[in-house]
Symmetry: C2
Amino acid sequence: MRKQVIRKCYELVNGILESKKCNIRGHIRQYSKRGIRDKVENIEVMAGENEKDFEICSSPPRPSFKITTPSEFVKEETVASGNWLSLQKLTYKDPTGKAREWEAVSRTTRGSGALDAVVVMATLKRTLKYDCIVLVKQYRPPMKTYTIEFPAGLIDSGEDPKETAVRELKEETGYHADIKHISPAVCLDPGLSSCTVALVSAEIDGDSHVNLHPQSNPDSTEFIEVLTVPLNELLDTLNVHANQGSVIDARVYTYAVAQAQALKEHKLEPWVGLNKS
Amino acid sequence: MRKQVIRKCYELVNGILESKKCNIRGHIRQYSKRGIRDKVENIEVMAGENEKDFEICSSPPRPSFKITTPSEFVKEETVASGNWLSLQKLTYKDPTGKAREWEAVSRTTRGSGALDAVVVMATLKRTLKYDCIVLVKQYRPPMKTYTIEFPAGLIDSGEDPKETAVRELKEETGYHADIKHISPAVCLDPGLSSCTVALVSAEIDGDSHVNLHPQSNPDSTEFIEVLTVPLNELLDTLNVHANQGSVIDARVYTYAVAQAQALKEHKLEPWVGLNKS
């Protein structure tokens, strides 16, 4: 029975590829269950010991350009420097050897590490509740308005990213969290600044007594409102806040889109808010 | 039978809440299937017409601070200005009425709209292949190294975000895409800059003849390598690139984490790369 199913699938796959004049030889290496479910109807394919016989190479198309000669940093001049930020003119050599100029900004506050700050993507988990994502709303002078962001903060001297994440989440939101994962240094706007952050994934046990009545404790210059948004309503909620004049942080919005896409792809939830273009 | 199951669930739920001394009154409003599956064993709960009888309020805890008096922009002075960027000193009033200063950078290239650029989150879809996410690797002078980013570009004069997205994706990667969703203006680093982008979700029909042999066409100052990474390997692939010295863009990494979390939550795929902290 199983062999018959795989054979029928194989014939259909070959038919599709031939009809599309695809230049793909070989075998199914990894079954795309979604692809099969959507495009080869009435066939169920189960991974198993015989799958190697029916592989199709799933490697992506080859890039049309591959970096061989690297670009190279030459020098930087500081154009202006404030208490927190400085503006630089950079010179670098492109792969043809031509010298080119670029303008960039950097923080003057970075310590000895490669990181300026941490960003905490914290999920509030409670028994019998939808998981919530914890966000902060605050006035951001560069934007001249309020933003919705993940809790975040600059790394204090002598701190490691995990300590900063736990401290900032507690100060800004009142929650005690377990740190689950810390990313490598990632860049925020690499065409403009040298700024990097670690993205920290955290979970908050909302049933724990320490998290039942969270009290934030921001410093005296911070006025921060905490938002806990059910994950399944995140994208819609962000769109509502944007319509009301807040600016959503790109990482928060990306997180919401990626979650919505993943759930839509697996037909677990409607792709709320993503169908209008 | 159904009523018995719901009753048994209700009793168990009450028991859990009492044993945890949670201060939650009322009813189950939305079943958290995961919560029930994980924490109330041997009970299957199906949503249905009687669910209202068994609601528990799922609203998140009330914020401990709510913004009532808004902060207010006062003035900005330009400290220095280059061809592309300018550095400003801003003055604003915090909710107590106290005047405070902030430093910020902005792009001198922004047109009349609220947007500096678009970022294209494009999924390459092909029959019987895992969906791939399309990324670009390029030298970024501010980072003094190579980055892995979503294809992106500044909005040309007279363009709308959709046109920019289609044009930039074609130039940088060679792919023709269908635009599925455009975000409101989102900020990239709102404590530092006024920069905003639209996040554009796009799908590429990889079976279409126009996308079988994509040829990028970047301008003469751009040297861009295209990466197409299967979604189910995205986080691991990014970690490999980071280990090899490239810096991953925060939005790309956030996208990968959110996808991995969504799949883990629904037990569809292992939470690859996310278990080490």
